[in-house]
Amino acid sequence: MKTESVLEKVLASGNLAVTSECGPPRGAVPEKVKEKAELLRGCVDAVNITDNQTAMVRMSSFAACVLVRQMGLHPILQSVTRDRNRLAIQSDILGAYSFEIDNMLCLSGDHPHFGDHPQAMNVHDIDSIQFLQMVKGMRDEGKFQGGDDILNPPKMFIGAAANPFADPFELRVARLAKKVKAGADFVQTQCIYNLDKFEQWMQGVRDRGLHEKVYILAGVTPMKSAGMARYMKNKVPGMDVPDEVVERMAGVPKEKQADEGIKICVETIERLKEVEGVSGFHIMAIEWEQKIREITEKAGLYPRPVV
């Protein structure tokens, strides 16, 4: 065990872990964070708090993590290199750990082009892989990136994102290898609709023994409507939604589409359980957090194990 993290304990015990996601509000409204997090209580082992998702300003991930931790839940601090340099990142990590937040996800972040401040300078002092190296160095060597010693070094359980569906496909296993080498303890994948492609990636991952070096949480997202399926297929970079999925959603009447989306999500989880190397699930139900309980129940992932 590298940390005291509950998420690490669940994974280390051999149970399938479940994480989900909470987007902080576009204003100083702490109640919204608490409402969403409350819906997840008991359904997940840890919850990602996103960081200025799609380059739109939201309450800081750090602040929202503190609110969630104070509710007795376990947040995963998502942090993007787009918005802060290495000083600010290390500073945030010290702060977060001081509030008993001990999980984090090291990301590059969506380009400001997509967000509400396209005029902003993107920082990228370091990239996501250098970020992983830095956090690992803080934890295992007790040193800042610049080399000085840290008082009470933060013991973070370190996560990264993995996207088996982005191009070029032939690099995607090597990319995971790089992240593992840099220090990732766990990864969460982009949401999976194309199971064949995912299984192809996992084969490559297993061939290199990476599934034994890093915990892989398979990402799933329930579709709310056929429109959402089409949007994700055509407008979101790095997303692979096969035609059959869109057709299946479009094939049922509008009032039934949300239920069909949940059905597909649960079926996907069941199929992913059979894939060797999958250690858990990252269920992203953005603005639909109330469905997490239903999904975890139907997929046999509820209640969460006590470790």
């Binding site: 590059s108 380009h111 990228h124 990239d127 190296q133 990136q145 982005a166 191009d167 982009q190 970079p237």
Partner: protein, 222 residues
Amino acid sequence: MITAERKPLEEIMEFVKPHGRILLVGCNECVTVCSAGGRKEVGLLASALQLKFMKEGQTLDIKEMTLERQCDPEYVEELAPFSDQVDAVLSMACGCGVQEVARRYKNLPVYPALNTKFMGASERQGVWAERCQGCGDCLLGITGGICPIARCSKRLLNGPCGGSTSGKCEISPEVDCVWQLIWDRLKALGMESRYEDIMPAKDWQTSRGGGPRKIIREDLAE
């Protein structure tokens, strides 16, 4: 070369309007190559400004000159005989040239006619693209001769990110994903194994991050 594009005429007019006599100076190097501020463009801008003034029922006294470069004091000195015959200078050089003219002719307002853009190369006639950001510590030897600092939208040194789609960057289908290009080049060179070497966090002190930079050659500087 350093690339630039002419500012909108409206903006240039605002600079020039209060002055009756202008010295319009072009540069024979980079801005000539990217067709923004060479002899030809000086002639065109002079004519365009004259037409605009004529529309208001006025005329503008414009002297047209093109220097070999505006970033060397020896050439900037060539403007000296005209400095008391004009009320302002409109420079069609890159930002470096504009500043050197301003530095030498302290009593004349010096305006930029161009927006300096980037250090780049010609992809083909009429098309120039960004290639170098002057980071001060060149890593082209490791990345197959393609620069991720200048050409990756997120400056990733260990790319690509998860937004790379069909060889294009997530921000636009017109922008190549440079990490796709680097990977293709490494494959062509038989150097795929390099890909998994982790490039450590960059020291930005050699770049703009360390402050405005200077090179001093002790053997050349008096």
